[in-house]
Symmetry: C2
DNA sequence: ATCGTTCCGATACAGTGTATCGACCAGTAC
DNA sequence: GTACTGGTCGATACACTGTATCGGAACGAT
């Protein structure tokens, strides 16, 4: 930017040298661009692929430049999580609809950004978009007893975080083994089979072998229904 | 070990040289010792303090030695989590007692090993101790409909994971700010106050300011009660 | 004694987050 | 025009990470 044009490469005068084509004024840096670049990397190759150097490279900038906008990598991760919260917009008329919508929207966001599962619940979420989600939910719970609101929302959030984490963890495990051998029987099936064959976990073996296996959607919704039913029972008491 | 004793340091003959004092045969390496060392580091300084080099140093061993016992750092973390599951021994006679015990025991373990909160739910837990916990729980649920067991346990586990994560995250935030300024009003209180003063989150502000604030124990138990109530309603239907 | 074979672990590599500080800039005074 | 100054920016450096590689030592067989 401040650098003087001392680049008379190969002796050509300015008049002969063609205008540099693809060197428009690089869009000025901003937290938003940084976070977008980081999210793009994380979406593509997972959270481990997010390094300040790679982010800087994507933005065609030197790494230390980023420290003008964020104080540490952790802050960048916080910003990423808050950006994800921008996509979580619960809707609904009753408290039950809103809480269910909150849960589904969070799960949906984690499906689109698997790295979110690694970050959710890891640090307090106080960014503007997270607070906006909270505001929407709480506002829709206007007819609920004031002291009951926090516990309700906290419980639903806790359930969602745990459920989504396990879901994503399993999805990754299946991808890691199942990609190689079509069915995820590859290494987990046999391993469990062998382990159960030892007879040390008879009850567990029975459940895993004989009980109905629900898919991820149903499992999530059943747990959520448990919770919402329990909440309903308590607040209408 | 195989190295010949070529260390006639300073020319003293064997007869004059004192026996090396604190060099007993180093207890033979084992996964258990490695995991214990890793847990010791994590308990003391958090998960980030666990590096293969530091673990090796604690065991007075060269880093690459560890790869004879584990294939990657990730495996070490898996072993740590399974070791933690050894301390999770749910008890109880009814399904409700057992599930509550499972939840409380998991929470207790995470309080003693905060790093557990970072790892819980991050990967499928299939180690022997984790399976043993599962076996205990499932065995105590013998009188419950077979197809209902998995969803029940999964829901409780999901809730616990999310609740514990948030709890530990908040505890850390309080420690980080509160240690410096006695009360955690240090930076969060004022920040929230300022944010709410903008009037953009009126409903949230009302709840945070006017609603009763429960402590961590109550919050956890209330959410758990919601869930258990909901489960009870469904299975006795 | 010599040759394979095996396996251990020192070294090396490619990468990380970030502290430091020299270089360079605009602005001011003369 | 020149000299100085105050402040900012980012190249370099540092300490550290997980792990691939492969020279060489140890051992069994010939």
């Amino acid at each position: 930017m401040y650098r003087p044009m001392r680049c008379t490469v190969s002796g050509m005068l300015v008049w002969e040298r063609p205008e540099p084509l693809n060197r428009p004024v690089p869009a000025p840096l901003s937290r938003e661009r940084i976070v977008r670049a980081a999210i793009q990397l994380a979406d593509a190759d997972g959270l481990d692929a997010v390094s300040l150097r790679k982010v800087a490279t994507v933005l065609d900038v030197r790494p230390m430049r980023l420290y003008g906008y964020i104080a540490s990598k952790e802050e960048l991760l916080d910003l990423m999580v808050d950006a994800a919260h921008a996509e979580i917009r619960p809707v609904g008329n009753s408290w039950r609809e809103v809480l269910r919508s909150l849960a589904e929207a969070t799960r949906h966001a984690a499906h689109e950004h698997e790295w979110l599962a690694d970050l959710l619940g890891g640090r307090p979420q106080l960014g503007p978009h997270a607070l906006a989600s909270g505001e929407t939910v709480v506002a829709a719970l206007g007819d609920v007893d004031l002291d009951a609101i926090m516990p309700m929302v906290a419980a639903v959030n806790a359930y969602v975080i745990g459920a989504v984490r396990r879901e994503i963890a399993e999805r990754r495990a299946e991808r890691a083994t199942g990609m190689d051998e079509k069915r995820w029987q590859a290494s987990l099936g046999p391993y469990l089979e062998r382990t159960f064959a030892t007879g040390r976990f008879p009850a567990l073996a029975t459940v895993v072998r004989d009980a109905a296996h629900l898919d991820a959607d149903h499992t999530f919704r059943i747990g959520l229904d448990f919770l919402l039913d329990g909440i309903e029972a308590r607040i209408s008491r």
